[in-house]
């Protein structure tokens, strides 16, 4: 196993009694990458994250986090973690909560004070710092949780559903924070159901189901990838369809609706021209990129989670 990877797992398996939560997870996340972890409910995502963090012991298999075993206490000074259900000591104030966790990171007092100031400003909670966490809204708890995950300027941060309780402004804030973390060279491991968020922020994604990685895809390949075209046409003769194969594949005419997968986005004007010159009347012409959601459904399937 190599230290160039922030996360490396080999044949990782976790059984809870007779239930197999993670079947044999093989994963490599290079340092500095924003990595999305996608899968239906019950796919084993949270259990995998817990094994990466040393919260749950694997039944078998190997894990290296920043080149070290997750059970090592010292490695955690280089990690940050925002758990899915962000339950904290609610009788602490925001400031006390961050101080507590800063002390657990053994951050020297003066540096911790400055870092807390900086993070409270960053997550927009400076004016609520002296309020107890029990008075915080779900979104505020998520923000303060995010701040505690960044206290130590981690090399690798695990964010488990970081935007689930946030409004659009909060989501944008998290997005911006993830971007700035990437700029600083931090590896971000993001588990989120909000595929649109993942699509915007991640470099690569892993699709996981039944505790196994089904596919790892680069988001840039998704952007550069196939375009589907749906056109509403009248008077298009079936004889004209083979002529479209110069630019497209999977061509199908359902009544007045024409479907195809366009090989190159640049060929869309030529397709339109060909249709018109073939005598067809074009009422609608809608090219669409394959979204992460489409890819998710394609890879994971429609049967969803548990």
């Amino acid at each position: 196993m190599s230290a160039q990877f922030a996360i490396q797992s080999l044949s990782l398996r976790k059984e809870f009694g007779k239930t197999v939560a993670v079947r044999g997870l093989n994963l490599e996340v290079p340092r500095g990458e924003v990595f999305g972890f996608l899968g239906p409910n019950g796919a084993g995502k949270t259990t995998s994250i817990k094994m990466f963090l040393g919260l749950v012991a694997p039944t078998s298999g190997n894990i290296r986090i920043l080149g070290e075993e997750p059970a090592k206490t010292e490695i955690r000074s280089r990690l940050g973690f925002l758990p899915e259900h962000f339950r904290f000591h609610e009788w602490l104030t925001g400031q006390e909560f961050l101080t507590l966790h800063g002390r657990l990171y053994s951050i020297p007092s003066a540096r911790l004070t400055a870092r807390i100031e900086e993070l409270l400003e960053l997550v927009g909670l400076a004016e609520f710092r002296h309020k107890q966490l029990r008075t915080y809204s779900k979104g505020m708890l998520q923000r303060i949780g995010l701040a505690q995950a960044l206290l130590n300027r981690p090399e690798l941060v695990f964010l488990d559903e970081p935007t689930s309780g946030l409004d659009p402004v909060g989501r944008r804030l998290v997005r911006d924070i993830i971007r700035s973390l990437k700029t600083e060279g931090t590896t971000v491991f993001l588990n989120s159901h909000l595929l649109s968020e993942v699509e915007i922020t991640c470099d690569r994604v892993a699709f996981i189901k039944f505790g196994e990685v089904l596919r790892v895809s680069s988001l840039s390949s998704l952007v550069d990838g196939e375009t589907t075209l749906t056109a509403r046409v009248h008077n298009l003769s079936p004889e004209s369809l083979p002529g479209l194969s110069a630019w497209a594949k999977d061509i199908r005419l359902d009544g007045n609706t024409l479907h195809m997968v366009v090989l190159d986005e640049e060929s869309l004007p030529a397709i339109n021209r060909y249709l018109v010159e073939s005598g067809a009347q074009v009422y609608a012409f809608s090219p669409q990129k394959m979204s992460l959601e489409d890819l998710f459904i394609q890879v994971v399937g429609m049967d969803g989670g548990l």
């Binding site: 012991a57 955690r76 758990p83 259900h85 000591h89 602490l92 657990l104």
Partner: protein, 280 residues
């Protein structure tokens, strides 16, 4: 700051913030008021007929008896307090998920458990100091009487509190809060009744009854330690009767005392081991 101290301090702060400390302080003060008022009126009644040496002798017996009554109540209250503050301390944080953000910091799991233990031990010390200190001080201020060997008896009561708290911590690291509380009080009940069976068995010279008592002390040595603490604080005349309502003159053997030390360390080790091995 050492992570153990961070957790110990957090445990203290939690007791204050969640008003556990305030409630305990208020009830502790109420206990002291009731005890000292009662003590005042009872001793005043007896002291209303001074002069004879029998009355003087009787007064000392009454002072000692009431001192032991206060220690008996304090022992029970400390055990209840120790169980209540500890039963939820680990299991509650596991159930709520709070523990996940704590133990993913650079803190070993054993440090987390020891930090909790230290914090709870500190709270117990303060509570015991309030109850026992207030009782002893109240008697002394009113009469000038101090029971024998209080400097040995009160630390033994503290040991008793620590034993029960440590058992609760070990169970809390593997069971739910309610199961922990129920099991600890159950063990305490077994030890209590076992202690009385042993006392009566000794008076009747019945070996089976004595062995039942010893067995119950092996399960939970709290009654044996109370017996040792109270016998040390009982004055000579009462001791000569062989038993008081609170204690028995036959104190635990050195082997039993050594066993109690090992018992405490064993449960502390179990608390660390259970928590270390547990999936969170």
């Amino acid at each position: 700051m050492n992570p153990i101290l961070v957790i110990a301090r957090l445990t203290f702060k939690e007791a204050v913030r969640r008003r556990i400390a305030t409630a305990s302080l208020v009830l502790g003060i109420l206990f002291l008021i009731v005890f000292n008022l009662g003590f005042h009126f009872m001793t005043a009644e007896i002291a209303a007929h001074p002069g004879t040496s029998q009355v003087e002798l009787m007064l000392e017996q009454v002072y000692n008896f009431l001192h032991l009554a206060a220690m008996y109540a304090s022992n029970f209250m400390v055990i209840v307090f120790g169980t209540l503050i500890t039963a939820d301390s680990i299991s509650g944080e596991i159930t709520s998920g709070v523990v996940q953000v704590t133990v993913t910091k650079p803190i070993a799991r054993w440090q987390y458990v020891i930090g909790k233990w230290l914090g709870n031990a500190g709270l117990l010390a303060l509570y015991l100091a309030l109850l026992c200190g207030g009782s002893v001080l109240g008697i002394w201020l009113q009469t000038g009487y101090i029971a024998p060997h209080v400097t040995e008896g009160i630390p033994l009561l503290y040991l008793n509190g620590l034993i029960v708290m440590t058992v609760a911590l070990a169970l809390s690291s593997t069971m739910s809060t309610l199961a922990t509380g129920g099991t600890v009080f159950g063990l305490f009940g077994v030890a209590f009744i076992g202690g009385w069976i042993e006392r009566i068995g000794t008076l009747l010279k019945n070996d089976t009854a004595i062995n039942i008592g010893i067995l119950s002390s092996l399960l939970m040595p709290s009654e044996a330690i109370w017996n040792l603490a109270s016998s040390r604080m009982t004055n000579q005349l009462a001791s000569s009767f062989g038993a008081t309502p609170f204690s028995f003159s036959q104190t635990p053997s050195p082997v039993m005392i050594a066993f109690t030390g090992l018992y405490l360390l064993g449960f502390l080790y179990a608390a660390v081991w259970n928590f270390k091995k547990r999936d969170l």
